[in-house]
Amino acid sequence: MALLEVRDLTVNFVRRGERPFTAVDGVSFDVEPGQTVGLVGESGCGKSVTSLAIMRLLAKRGNKVSGSVRFEGTDLLRLSDKDMRDRRGRDLGMVFQDPLSSLNPVIPIGLQITEVLERHRGMSRKAASIEAVDLLDKVGIPDPSRRLTEYPHQLSGGMRQRALIAIALACRPRLLIADEPTTALDVTIQAQILALLRELVQDTGTALIMITHDLGVVAGLCDEVNVLYGGKIVERAQRHQLFAEPRHPYTHGLLASIPRLDAGRGEKLIPIRGSVADNIPWDGGCAFAPRCPNALPVCREVSPRLVPDNGGLLRCHNPVRPAVAAGGGTR
């Protein structure tokens, strides 16, 4: 049995006076113990809402969540609020994008870590602070005992993110969800944080859901990658498979449109035309069809289904042929 089984997860934003908007649309995936799964997509594809829905962090008002999220067999979406609070932080940890706004600015770092230890592991304040020093040391914060008494604004961005990871790992959760953990950081600091995450996953066997827009981050970290577009998974593949042979025109387009550090100069980038605003609703065809270089008439009539393909999953009527993909262009 998988550690986490997400089935048909759907999130509707219901606002008074507005048409309901489906942010996440029937997303299903599994996470095995110790596995790193990537959710990749551009802004607005539903990747963050998926993670918030798994953690039950979306406000009840205005958001309709359906489907199931089974964690070791228990459906998190059916748990009472109190039971969910016990799970959050103990079984499932989360690291957010902006460490400054996810840390409490008026409480010292140390207290924010011991709070978790006292709440979930029933430790005394004293034992918890000894453990906190240990945790800060493990995530690579120099002089941890002094840092305990400092406030978030006294730490640099990279150190704040480390502190946040320490909080998320305090109870040794079996699943860690990292939502764009390095987007707000500089590249050299990003490299430090990614190395830290990689190490923690290896050492503790924690499963990791990595949410990012950066395909480079995915390439170095994830075992399995889900590409999201318009709230649906459009392609799933093992890491090497996805980058070597992207099958969905969107995945292929993303890879062709990012400048690569190791590419020769003068190679033209091949952008994806249009923007997310051109999407058509999924029930009337493929949302990506208006931007797709491979679009057929059927793409605007019949919604494609997610079917097994090449060892992964694919949602496309007219996928990129491997030979064409190697040539680097689809148009």
């Binding site: 120099p142 006294q154 990003q190 100069r265 190679e267 994806i272 923007s275």
Partner: protein, 370 residues
């Protein structure tokens, strides 16, 4: 394309921008300086793209703004096509600005939400007296829109009606409206989604080919900079540490910081990611208000040596054709005579005064205020 014989359009020599740190409510005391840009020399030739990379806080944006006199330089010269812009005043400065334009990072906050696109594009032309003939002006507006790939109907619309990529196109059209020679683009694509980034990057390249523009592109993303630049300068804590052409920088980086920066950038290819060697830098960027002595990078440098590094500040020196490096031991590192070692991360003190929106300000004692 880079042509070593082409005439130099912009020459910056020993440019410094220092921001004072003030304390006190009634009596302003200057208690120190942030050395945002501290002695930069660079030359940009006509028609080339010069890329400036570095991490946040390295002074790259301040340098770009100082070149356009949007920030006042503390010292140094900015010679643009024969005239020292840093010394210009009043009307002369205003006239000089027509030839140097800027593209900003965030297209929404750099466009007036209450101005229509037409009015945004006309404002610069009017200020520089380029709108004399009504018919020619209208023709010019349509031409500008088609150059950046926007429909003519955009003229009557307002910035909020456009997507991020389209807004950036408006920003580019605005910069082009006064027919500049030099365009300083400060993080032109970092606010955009990846699929849209490529559109804007390609647009900038096309415009350069058609109009013969000279670009100074400032960005933190080395992959983007490498893609569009002829030459690249790498900045660290207010100074250039390495400067060379784009291919050499990638294939043969000499400065330890450039090497670390290159190895830190994720490549969207698992095969490369699994095999390449990473140089992880320890610690954070030191505060520009209190830069390290000697080489500014010595506190994080894995190749740091016991002598020179912490006492003498290395100057940029030429070690290959058009390849300048500010490192005492560049050749020894290249030839493998010095091996990297572990670096203990240093504690970086963030004080409230350096970041006015962080923490309470220290207002001084009562007797000082009275």
């Amino acid at each position: 394309m880079s042509n070593p014989a082409a005439e130099v359009l912009l020459e910056v020599s020993d440019l410094k921008v220092h921001f004072p740190i003030k304390r006190g409510i009634v009596i302003d005391r200057t208690i120190g300086h942030v050395f945002a840009v501290d002695g930069v020399d660079l030359a940009i030739r006509r028609g080339e793209t010069y890329g400036l990379v570095g991490e946040s806080g390295c002074g790259k944006s301040t340098l770009g703004r100082a070149i356009l006199r949007l920030s006042e330089p503390t010292a140094g010269k900015v010679v643009f096509d024969g005239t020292d812009v840093a010394a210009l005043k009043g009307e002369e400065l205003r006239k000089a600005r027509r030839r140097m334009q800027m593209i900003f990072q965030d297209p929404l906050s750099s466009l007036d939400p209450r101005q229509s696109v037409e009015s945004i594009l006309l404002e610069g032309m009017r200020a520089h007296g380029l709108d004399k003939d009504e018919e020619a002006t209208q023709r010019r507006l349509r031409q500008l829109l088609s150059a950046v790939g926007l429909p003519e109907t955009s003229l009557r619309k307002y910035p909020h009606e456009f997507s991020g990529g389209q807004r950036q196109r408006i920003g580019i059209a605005r910069a082009l409206s006064v027919e500049p020679d030099l365009i300083v683009a400060d993080e032109p694509v970092s606010a955009l989604d990846v699929s849209v980034q490529a559109q804007v990057v390609n647009l900038l390249e096309d415009l350069q080919d058609r109009l013969g523009l000279t670009y100074l592109v400032i960005a933190h993303d080395l992959a983007v900079v490498r893609h569009i630049s002829d030459r690249i300068g790498v900045m660290y804590l207010g100074a250039l540490v390495e400067e060379t052409d784009a291919d050499t920088l990638y294939e043969n980086p000499m400065h330890p910081y450039t090497r670390a920066l290159l190895s830190a950038i994720p490549v969207p290819d698992p095969v490369v990611e699994d095999t390449r060697e990473q140089i992880l830098l320890a610690g954070d960027l030191p505060s520009p208000a209190n830069p390290p002595t000697g080489c500014r990078f010595h506190t994080r440098c894995p190749w740091r040596q016991a002598s020179l590094c912490d006492t003498d500040r290395p100057q940029l020196r030429e070690i290959g054709r058009g390849h300048r490096v500010a490192c005492h031991y560049a050749e020894d590192i290249r030839d493998g005579r010095i091996q990297p070692h572990e670096v203990e991360p240093e504690l970086i003190e963030l004080t409230g005064a350096l970041n006015p929106d962080l923490g309470p300000p220290d207002v001084g004692t009562v007797s000082e205020i009275l």
